[in-house]
């Protein structure tokens, strides 16, 4: 599913973010990425949706070799990957419905299917009655649900989440995690960078710890392992 071999990444400013990373993630897994800030978590995550290119090494995602795909093929890679961010990245001028439909318009889905799929996914994240609201009329947790809905509306095989609960209070965070577990239960691979010790230690999943650009720990049903 996701295979990284000997990944090195040095940015143009000389900062080395990854220093020889090897990882193999199977279809349907739920993986936490943990580690101190600046350890290379973000770079690791960005490699997967080709926001960042490795300096050397091979990444294979769903049988696509990312080091070989052409720049103009990148959009098609991204259609197989849903991405969720800490700051939601919703379009403020568009309603909840339009924000989600946007991801389908881009891939030229038919209006009939757009309607059907958006309503389905809104139902799943429990926001069916708020379809016409604008993002700033929603709570943080609700906005994150919208961005999750947008990430999964075209049924990607992989969902990547970069600290999805980072801006949310604990109670809301549990709700969001429940949604991710539901998505995972349908067979979607989930890769989540997080700083939340409670979440990692309570909802036990595979844990990959990154420090100084290296994977220092990779355990099934692991612990968060850091004090903060």
């Amino acid at each position: 599913m996701i295979l990284m071999k000997d990944i090195y990444k040095t940015y143009a400013n000389g900062v080395t973010a990854l220093n020889g990373v090897n990882v193999d993630i199977k279809q349907g897994e739920f993986v936490y990425i943990v580690g101190p800030s600046g350890a290379g978590k973000s770079t690791f995550i960005k490699l997967m949706y080709r926001e960042v290119k490795p300096s050397s090494g091979t990444i294979i995602i769903s049988d696509m070799d990312l080091s070989e795909i052409k720049e103009r093929k990148v959009p098609y890679l991204r259609r197989n990957i849903g991405v969720v961010f800490q700051d939601f990245k919703l379009l403020q001028k568009l309603s909840v419905y339009e924000n989600i439909a946007f991801a389908l318009e881009v891939i030229e889905e038919s209006p009939k299917n757009i309607r059907k799929q958006v309503m389905e996914v809104l139902e799943m994240v429990g926001l069916k009655n708020k379809a016409r609201f604008l993002p700033n009329e929603l709570s943080g947790g609700e906005q994150q649900r919208v961005s999750i809905a947008r990430a999964i509306v075209n049924h990607p095989k992989i969902v990547i989440a970069d600290e999805p609960t980072g801006n949310l209070d604990p109670e809301t965070s549990w709700g969001i995690m429940k949604t991710f577990e539901e998505i995972n239960a349908r067979g979607t691979t989930i890769i989540m960078a997080t700083h939340s010790k409670e979440i990692v230690n309570t909802i036990k999943k595979r844990v990959i710890a990154i420090e100084d650009g290296l994977i220092v720990r990779d355990e099934h049903r692991g612990d968060y392992g850091y004090e903060i």
Partner: protein, 299 residues
Amino acid sequence: MAMKFRTFLRHVREGSKNIIRNGWMTVASIGAVTTTLILVAVFLALVLNLNEMANNIENDVQINTMIDLTATEDEIIELGGEIETIAGVESVAFSSNDDELQKLIESMGEEGESWKLFEQDNPLNHVYIVRAAVPEDTERIASEVETLNGVDSVVYGQDVVEQLFEFNKYARTIGLALVIALVFTAIFLISNTIKITIIARSTEIGIQKLVGATNGFIRWPFFIEGLLLGVLGSVIPIAVIMGGYYYLDTNFSETISFSFVELLPFDPFAWQLSLMVLAIGAIIGIWGSVMSVRKFLKV
């Protein structure tokens, strides 16, 4: 991959919405296009008219071969044959001294009356009017004719023709250079104006890229927006061309019509010029817009 018509409509909708959403930036862009196009139109009208005049002159050049006053009738006929054999000569026409005097009298108008005195004792030469097949050959043919027996002199407006050719060459080059410079200035202005509005839209573009929009998909609304800016910017210039040229054509055409100085007729010239201005406007708009979005697509 072919775009679905539905998607195309979506791009048109988005592009038009942006025109309205950008308010004063739109006005500024259209203003830049309008100013440029008016100047471009004036230069184009000038250059094209000069061009036409040059062509008229070029085609109008004839060599008047003055025949020796002492030449006999046989010699004159022989000379005519010789001129015809010169390479590049299209036609040779004989014009007797009486014909020439008649032409002179007519061209002088009322003052010509006094020349009628000469009808009894014509001082003019018989003339062979020689035309070159290609205007550029005029000079060579003239010098060859001059060496023939029975030729007194040749006249083909040497200086005037050369100066006009020269002037036209410069006018064309300078005019074109100015038009090109103006067009690039306008493209630059538009791309800068749109760039300002894009910065506000960069989050939107970023999100589009994240959900898998192709560069083409993102670029299209900008393409439409640029096209609209260009077309809207050409409305006033076209009105100026139509109105201005109609005015010139009706009011000055007759007063300034020498044999070769003649304005291109309103129909079809004003229409063609308008179409040209519209096309240039569209290109300026599209180019400026697409150029400004380019750097936001590199992620």
